[in-house]
Homo-oligomer: 252 residues x 2
């Protein structure tokens, strides 16, 4: 493995998380029932698409075989997408959307804060921008988790169910494979092992404040770093790639 | 008719245009095939939802019977929505989306520039913000119309078809009913009659530059000011109101 190859994969994985989550959130645009919340989720979705564009462009530049970030975003087969399983999970009811946002945004805040120190100047520059954005996403998710968890009986029950349902997708966030390890030794990638304790602390603090129970770490889903996905990704891609497939190579 | 009643209806109509078009554009979020275009359309959608929020809040404040802008946005029956038929038309292929954007954004730019002079301070303040945003929407639509019209044979053909298909919804933009006339006499509303010639000039200039033919004014669809809509609105509302109907009065 060369640094170039590893960096390509690393940028692709981060870009795919942003691309797929951005798509999931965009499914909620204008779905109400609160205009203010429409604006918030659409804004988060917009940040995600912008982040995907920056990271996939860096992947394309690194690969340097003539593909653009758009080719990379829209033209791969399902088993060549490397987003975490968590971000491809369906929006479900609003509590599920918020639970997904809570688990991923606390992770991303900690992750990108570390990535700012990367020796790779491009990744470091992207990380600095992302950290600012994701701080807001995290606050949004925390506020809603507390509001719903510490709300009515019904909202409490739904929020707890949502956290329980999403939990088994959280273990994967901290897996390090050979790409992570290689780039960590090069001073490029983030060490995910110490991140896990920070993440658990923060999540537990929020859940306690929300009068919710932190689930035990039981069976955890895994596979995304090898391109193995739940059936959800297929549905997302068939929507995302619809235009590209209908008009292959349309130059307009 | 009192000024208050007329102002409520006027704000509602303008808010509905933004709400419904914002929804239509949000359907395209993350549908590719170009990330840059995703960002552009999502940004325009976001402007629209923000505008809807401001105008429907003003309508709610004017009505002053306890309804919020969210109640107004999501809880009316279909025949109480007053958006123009143009904005509820389906996205179709990308050329149709752009044709709809061209016809409406040139209209809105001219309209809101005039509305800045309204004696109603709330409408004038909203108009000043909208004019800045819609100038960008208009430029985006003009650029794409020229790029597609003066592009390949295929893109030219599609763009001409799209303009032809959308044309019959443009006449309604300039209709004045008793609400418009009453508020125009009060110095609140925009006179739509002189606007038509300006609009036609601008549109013709763009279409000529795009090597496209400006359609003749033939049969024009009408009805929205009376709440009469094409079947498209029903589909939009069933999506928009889904959450509200599934969890009536959910307080979370």
């Amino acid at each position: 493995m060369t640094t170039k190859e590893a960096t390509y994969t690393y940028a692709l994985r981060l870009g795919d998380d942003a691309l797929i989550l951005g798509h999931r959130l965009s499914e909620l645009c204008s779905r109400g029932p609160i205009l203010e919340e429409d604006l918030a989720l659409t804004n988060i979705s917009l940040d995600m698409i912008g982040r995907a564009q920056a990271l996939l462009k860096y992947a394309a530049d690194t690969e340097n075989n003539g593909n653009t970030e758009d080719d990379i975003a829209y033209r791969r087969a399902e088993n060549h997408y490397y987003n975490h399983l968590l971000v491809e999970q369906p929006n479900g009811d609003f509590a599920h959307t918020i639970a997904r946002q809570l688990l991923i945004s606390v992770f991303e805040y900690l992750f990108y804060t570390e990535l700012e120190k990367s020796r790779d100047e491009n990744l470091s520059a992207i990380a600095k921008k992302v950290t600012k954005e994701v701080k807001y996403h995290m606050q949004h998710a925390i506020d809603w988790t507390i509001r719903l968890g510490d709300g009515t009986n019904e909202s409490h029950k739904r929020m707890q169910t949502a956290i329980n349902d999403m939990w088994m997708y959280s273990g994967e966030l901290f897996e390090m494979d050979e790409v992570d390890q290689y780039l960590f030794r090069e001073g490029v990638a983030v060490d995910l092992i110490p991140l896990k304790a920070h993440w658990q602390n923060r999540i537990q603090t929020v859940l306690t404040k929300a009068t919710l129970v932190t689930p035990e770490d039981g069976y955890m889903q895994t596979g995304s770093k090898k391109g193995v996905h739940s059936e959800n990704l297929g549905h997302i891609l068939s929507e995302m790639q619809y235009l590209q497939r209908s008009y292959p190579d349309a130059k307009w």
